[in-house]
């Protein structure tokens, strides 16, 4: 689990260094750090939760975002080559944390009424609760963490598998195949590079999606009526 520690060290080092001086007119590194933090702060937390609630949950959301992002990125960092999130531990852990957080937020906001509102949405004809309640229960309290976990995990595993496949094929074609088959290596190598770039996109996107969904769940839990 050395990747996790590396990620921890990398994040702490980067932000400590970047915000060490905290100059009013930011340098390059500080700008980059501020851009990342602002993405979570403004685009995710404050847009969805509003200023007040956004500030409450900001540390959690920031942590989730950067942890997922950097652990995703490790999938394409040379010598690490495996995403920290492509093993189920971290996605599951973060999903459980998101799960606990939005239930906590809901219970705190509507003491006693949260589960009732979630399972028995107001304004539905009485007989329909027979159908609605199981659906709501499954979708809210079972599927949410599962989908959070699996979406991230599978994206990372598949990305990793694709890269492994391409580069193994390249290696095979170059060093073990005969004659013209060697030329296939060029193609697989090119695809490997393209998918490496694609993995960067996926890494950022998945981190964003994970954080955004967590925020949306919190927002739904905080909403007055749903």
């Amino acid at each position: 689990m050395i990747i996790r520690l590396l990620v921890l060290v990398a994040i702490v080092l980067f932000f400590s260094l970047a915000l060490r001086k905290r100059s009013i007119v930011p340098g390059r590194m500080q700008s980059l750090a501020e851009m990342g933090l602002d993405l979570v702060r403004v685009n995710i937390a404050e847009d969805l939760l509003g200023k007040k609630d956004g500030r409450r949950f900001l540390p959690l959301l920031t942590t989730i975002f950067f942890m997922v992002l950097i652990m995703n990125i490790t999938g394409i960092v040379p010598l690490l080559n495996i995403a920290g999130t492509s093993v189920i531990g971290v996605p599951l852990l973060l999903a459980v944390i998101a799960y606990v957080t939005f239930i906590y937020a809901g219970v705190k906001k509507h003491p006693g009424a949260f589960f009732k509102n979630s399972l028995f949405p107001p304004g539905v004809p009485l007989p329909l609760y027979l159908i609605v309640t199981p659906i709501e229960f499954v979708s809210t309290f079972i599927l949410r963490p599962v989908t959070l976990t699996l979406r991230l995990l599978m994206n990372m595993i598949v990305g990793h598998l694709l890269l492994v496949l391409f580069f193994l094929a390249t290696s095979f074609f170059f060093f073990q195949a005969d004659g013209l088959f060697k030329f296939f290596g060029i193609g697989t190598f090119a695809f490997g590079i393209v998918f490496t770039l694609f993995e960067i996109l996926v890494a950022v996107l998945q981190a964003y999606v994970f954080t955004l969904l967590t925020t949306v769940y919190i927002q739904l839990a905080l909403a007055d009526e749903h």
Binding site: M1, L5, L19, T62, G89
Partner: protein
Amino acid sequence: MIPAVLAAAAEGETHNPLIPELPDLVWGAVVFVLLLVFFWWKILPSLKKLLDDRAEIIEGGIKKAEIAQAEAAAALDKYTDQLAEARAEAGRIREQARQDGTKILNELKDQASVEAARITANASASIEAERQAALVSLRAEVATLAIDLASGVIGQSLSDDKKAAVLVDQFLADLEASEATAKKSGK
């Protein structure tokens, strides 16, 4: 690389990727908690402070600019006022000068006419004086003439009173006529 990957693949076959391993969970949790603490107590407060500072400086800058603008506007107003004042002053001075000029001109005209009147008066006075002088000398002459005439008359016979009276009357008429012409020419 290949043996490692193959080993990993082999492991993947025996181990279901959906079942978490305990160390994985533990280390993940440790990292998460440390990161949460790091962001919560270190990075986000410092970011907040940074943003506040920046907002403050920008607001301060805006306020300063506003003050400077207000000052500039005030100075402009002052200068405009001063300029208008100066223009009015200049107009007043010009008007004053024109009035002074007119006054001086009038005074000069008056003076000139007075002078002219004086000169005229002087001239007429001297003429009058000369006329008087002429009159006086004429009178003296007339007296001598009268005396001459009288002696002539006395020398002649005084018997004929009528003749003598005619003579005297004629003489006096002549005299008056001559005096009248003299007066006319004198004027």
